[in-house]
């Protein structure tokens, strides 16, 4: 290896030479996939409202249905393909959250229901839950103090 190049120079040079992320295409696909998922949820929500459900209940039931769909499509080996194409558009909606919990549960089933499924299920979703809950506690305290 040529000793003339320092680590920092090498890192900069190799990054410059690296194949680039196709940002335009990725953003377009995230918009389309994410938009499709949200449109499906909106259709379900509107249907529930028209069937006579109150707004609050319809929102909860819609979320539950979307979580089910995300988990179901993960089980059918479909959601990983949606995620590969849609990126953040598939990861951010609640279907992506379901995928992040069901996929390790499937993967670690071989290690048993306790140390496998039970212990590894929140491998990816765990940090989201931890910091989501911490953030909501902080918001709650601020609301209590200033509202």
């Amino acid at each position: 290896m040529d000793k003339k190049m320092t680590r920092k120079e090498y890192m900069q040079w190799s990054q410059k030479e690296a194949p680039k992320t196709r940002k335009g295409k990725n953003m377009l696909m995230a918009f389309l996939i994410g938009g499709t998922i949200c449109t499906i949820a909106q259709i379900i929500n509107s249907f529930l409202l028209s069937a006579g459900m109150v707004q609050e209940d319809a929102g909860t039931v819609t979320t539950l249905i979307m979580i089910f769909l995300g988990a179901f499509l993960t089980g059918l080996n479909v959601y990983d393909d949606i995620g590969r194409i849609g990126g953040a558009g598939a990861a951010i909606p609640v279907t992506g959250f379901a995928n992040s919990i069901v996929s390790p549960a499937m993967e670690y089933k071989k290690e048993g229901y306790v140390m496998g499924v039970g212990a590894r299920m929140f491998l990816i979703a765990g940090p989201v839950l931890v910091y989501g809950i911490v953030a909501s506690i902080i918001c709650g305290i601020l609301y209590y103090l200033f509202a």
């Binding site: 290896m1 040529d2 680590r7 920092k8 090498y10 890192m11 190799s14 990054q15 030479e17 690296a18 194949p19 680039k20 992320t21 196709r22 990725n26 993960t74 089980g75 080996n77 959601y79 990983d80 393909d81 949606i82 995620g83 590969r84 849609g86 990126g87 598939a90 990861a91 992506g96 995928n99 992040s100 069901v102 996929s103 390790p104 499937m106 993967e107 670690y108 071989k110 491998l123 990816i124």
Partner: protein, 337 residues
């Protein structure tokens, strides 16, 4: 008895012979451009087993059987087995080789393991400590993803520098006599760490190691850089290959005309593997499938295999450590008539 040519390189004067070789791959590799060179393509990613880990062990077990069959020998004729894989504590290999009852050295060189095992195996044969040894490695896309990255069904996006772990196993039978490709030079790599911390950019992490070893090989042997018909690195992928060529040129070694990388050879671009293949089986199956076949047909006569390995672990990556890389070179030649 072998001659030391320099700090990293030795010449094997008895020229141990690669008597037999075999490569078994998974479905995706079987759809690639080298399909017809593999001994078997296994369509089922579980290989009829209950887990991916067990499937990987079966890849090794079946490849050993194929090597024994093609070499027309039995397990009792083999004095040593040099083998390894990517899984923690090399369990795929330990389970895979247990039934054979051959004395076994377990190796971890990540994706460089095939060249590491061939180096050690041929030194043992050169030194007269064994008549026949088997050197073999394996990797499995599903078990490697599980250990190093995300669950298979997790819908994440692959960065453009990422590579695809080859499913399969490749190995060789090395003996002291017979016809076939011969191992002439061994250049053992040293750790090269250029500070890359991204485990999805292994090509950039390993390219300097490959350059270091190739440079040492040509310097210490004194061979001209047009000596080999082919110089093949293990699994640098498109990105690492590009870096490697440029760095070698800076070192005054021009092998562009005969240089290739197993990671870019095993898949075709439309197979969606981004930068190409990686894993122990990448260089092992391309070597034991395609390259040795080309040598034995004398389509090429001299080959330098430079298998590259990224020696990180999921823990070291999470702790923000850089990736230590290594490359081992093996010079394989057909006997000149």
């Amino acid at each position: 008895m072998g001659t030391r040519l320099g700090k990293q390189t030795i010449r094997l004067d008895s020229r141990p012979v690669i008597q037999a070789w075999a490569a078994i791959v998974g479905a995706k590799e079987g759809q690639g451009p080298l399909r017809r060179y593999f001994d078997e393509v296994v369509e089922d990613e579980y290989y009829g087993e209950k887990s991916f880990e067990k499937a990987e062990s079966k890849f090794i077990r079946e490849t050993i059987s194929k090597i024994l069959m093609k070499g027309n020998v039995s397990t009792g004729d083999i004095q040593y087995l040099f083998a390894g894989d990517l899984l923690n504590q090399c369990t795929a290999t330990s389970f895979g080789v247990s039934a054979s009852e051959i004395p076994y050295f377990g190796l971890y060189g990540a994706c460089s393991t095939i060249a590491e095992s061939i180096s050690l195996g041929s030194m043992v044969v050169e030194g007269g400590m064994a008549e026949r040894v088997i050197c073999i490695t394996s990797s499995h896309f599903c078990s490697a993803e599980k250990q190093f990255r995300y669950p298979l069904e997790f819908g994440n996006q692959r960065p453009p520098t990422s590579q695809w772990t080859v499913t399969g196993s490749g190995g060789v039978l090395i003996g002291s006599a017979g016809d076939g490709p011969r191992i002439v030079h061994i250049t053992t790599g040293k750790i090269v760490d250029m500070g890359i911390t991204d485990a999805n950019d292994m090509g950039a992490a390993m390219a300097p190691a490959a350059v270091d070893t190739i440079t040492a090989h040509f310097t210490e042997t004194g061979l001209p850089d047009d000596y080999y018909d082919m110089v093949v690195t293990g699994d640098l992928g498109e990105h690492g290959k590009n870096l490697c060529i440029k760095l070698l040129e800076e070192n005054g070694i021009n092998i562009k005309h005969c240089y290739n990388d197993c990671g870019t050879m095993i898949y075709s671009p439309e197979q969606g593997t981004d930068c190409g293949g990686s894993g122990c089986a990448c260089s092992a199956t391309v070597f034991a499938g395609y390259l040795l076949e080309k040598l034995s047909r004398r389509e090429i006569n001299r080959l330098l295999l430079v298998a590259t390995g990224a020696l990180h672990s999921p823990t070291s990556i999470q702790q923000g450590e850089s990736i230590p890389a290594i490359a081992h070179a093996v010079g394989v030649e057909m006997q000149q008539n």
